[in-house]
């Protein structure tokens, strides 16, 4: 009985396999317009509306499945993209930093070409003085790098920043021209009227001209005079933005806007040659000249 059943099962399988083989044979031998090909196309045509209907009915299921599958993919994709964004942002920052440094170096090269008689040392600014009353910065070079006190310090575009007031072996303190104690010999570029530039401590400096009747206008460019021996002549300092009324002592309040951006200094150029020839004297009110 069992044997008969097994035999019947095998016959069934063999019969169906033969049917399949015949189907495959006929199908693969006939042309594209053959009976089975046409039948296949016919059934595909018949089923397509049904398939469409089923697809529509099953779309919530499909969407649900798709959503779950997509969710997994989306999570992976999200993590990958986050990582990529992070890497790209880091790269952008790096490139931005490189670009800024490149621009600064280009400007410094231009400054060196503009003053062939001067020798510069380019140094990084590593900090500012935390004291609110002192307008100073700290640079990453000192005695061991050939720096000395009273050397002039320029910004990357060649404008006067200040001068070194303290030197250690590895670092130096630069007094900015805006510092209250700062005094620099200056002159008007237009007519060479000389005076003293003094810091006001609040981001501005004022000019005291020796000639109280000097011809002075807003927009006049102020450069270093070279007097005092600490700073070479002709270094741009800033432009006159405001000319006040004559005071009782006949002085005129001339306000200068420094050309260098003194609040954003990354690198500065120290004039190492020629070195300062004289130690500044003490000006009126105890300020250095």
């Amino acid at each position: 009985m069992l044997e008969r059943r097994n035999r019947r099962q095998r016959y069934l399988m063999v019969t169906l396999v033969i049917v399949c083989v015949l189907l495959v044979t006929v199908y693969s031998r006939e042309s594209d317009n053959g009976l089975f090909h046409r039948m296949q196309r016919f059934f595909m045509d018949v089923i397509s509306p049904l398939q469409k209907g089923v697809s529509k009915v099953l779309s919530p299921v499909r969407n649900g499945v798709g959503f779950l599958v997509d969710l997994g993919r989306a999570r992976g994709e999200r993590d990958r993209l986050r990582e990529e964004v992070k890497n790209l942002e880091e790269r952008i920052h790096e490139l931005e930093e490189i670009r800024r440094e490149n621009d600064a170096l280009r400007r410094m090269i231009a400054v060196k070409e503009e003053y062939p008689e001067l020798e510069f040392l380019v140094v990084d600014v590593i900090g500012t003085n935390p004291d609110v009353w002192e307008q100073t910065i700290i640079i990453d070079a000192g005695y061991s790098d050939g720096l000395r006190e009273y050397m002039a310090v320029l910004s990357e575009d060649g404008s006067l920043v200040g001068r070194i007031i303290l030197c250690t072996s590895q670092s130096s303190v630069v007094q900015l021209i805006t510092d209250d104690s700062s005094a620099v010999g200056a002159k008007l570029q237009r007519n060479a009227e000389i005076g003293v530039l003094r810091g006001e401590g609040g981001g501005k400096v004022h000019l005291e001209l020796l000639n109280l009747d000097a011809d002075v206008k807003t927009g006049d460019v102020v450069v270093t005079s070279g007097m005092g021996g600490t700073c070479p002549a002709g270094i741009p300092i800033g432009v006159i933005t405001e000319i006040g009324e004559k005071q009782a002592d006949l002085s005129v309040g001339i306000i200068i806007e420094p050309r260098a951006n003194l609040t954003r200094l990354d690198k500065v150029m120290v004039v190492v040659s020629p070195p300062p020839t004289t130690v500044p004297g003490v000006a009126e009110g105890g300020k250095n000249l």
Partner: protein, 168 residues
């Protein structure tokens, strides 16, 4: 269950699985691996019902699939008929009610099914046959085996055997 009713259940199951295969399986693809729900159902059905019904499920399911695709007519039916028969033969040999054995059978059955299909395509000289990839076959076999966890218990409720499927 009367013979007529069992035939009706059989036909309905084949059609429902066909609709799932043509309508939903594509949406369940992981990478380039799309599950073969019809094959999983054929093997599971064969494990419940034995070689005859496994063979018939494989034949009709495979044939219907072939009809609704542009592949060589009969190749899918041929492969599924063979797999259905041999899966049915295992019915008497597997005494465990754990779903592990159906999963293993589906895994191996899928590998064999794909090999038969590729062999048949090669014999008939199918020009545009897909490139053979063991990776895809292994992925498909694994996917189908996992799908067995769902298909096997569901089909168990409609099969003639009065058994409750145990999970592991």
């Amino acid at each position: 269950m009367s013979i007529a009713r069992r035939r009706l259940v059989f036909a309905v199951i084949v059609l429902v699985v066909l609709l799932l295969q043509v309508g939903v399986a594509g949406e369940m693809s992981i990478g380039s691996v799309k599950p073969d729900i019809m094959l999983v159902a054929a093997i599971c059905w064969a494990l419940f019902e034995g070689p005859s019904r496994g063979t018939l499920f494989g034949f009709w399911g495979g044939l219907l699939e072939d009809v609704f695709t542009t592949t060589v007519l009969g190749v899918g039916a041929f492969a599924k008929t063979v797999i259905g028969y041999f899966a049915g033969e295992l019915k008497e040999r597997i005494v465990s009610k754990s779903v592990f054995w159906p999963m293993l059978t589906v895994f191996l059955g899928t590998v064999l099914h794909e090999l038969i299909k590729f062999a048949a395509w090669t014999v008939v000289g199918l020009e545009n046959r897909p490139p053979f990839s063991f990776g895809i076959i292994a992925g498909l076999a694994l996917y189908n085996a996992v799908l067995t966890l769902v298909v096997y218990p569901v089909l168990g409720r409609f099969a003639g055997v009065e058994e409750r499927v145990m999970m592991f």
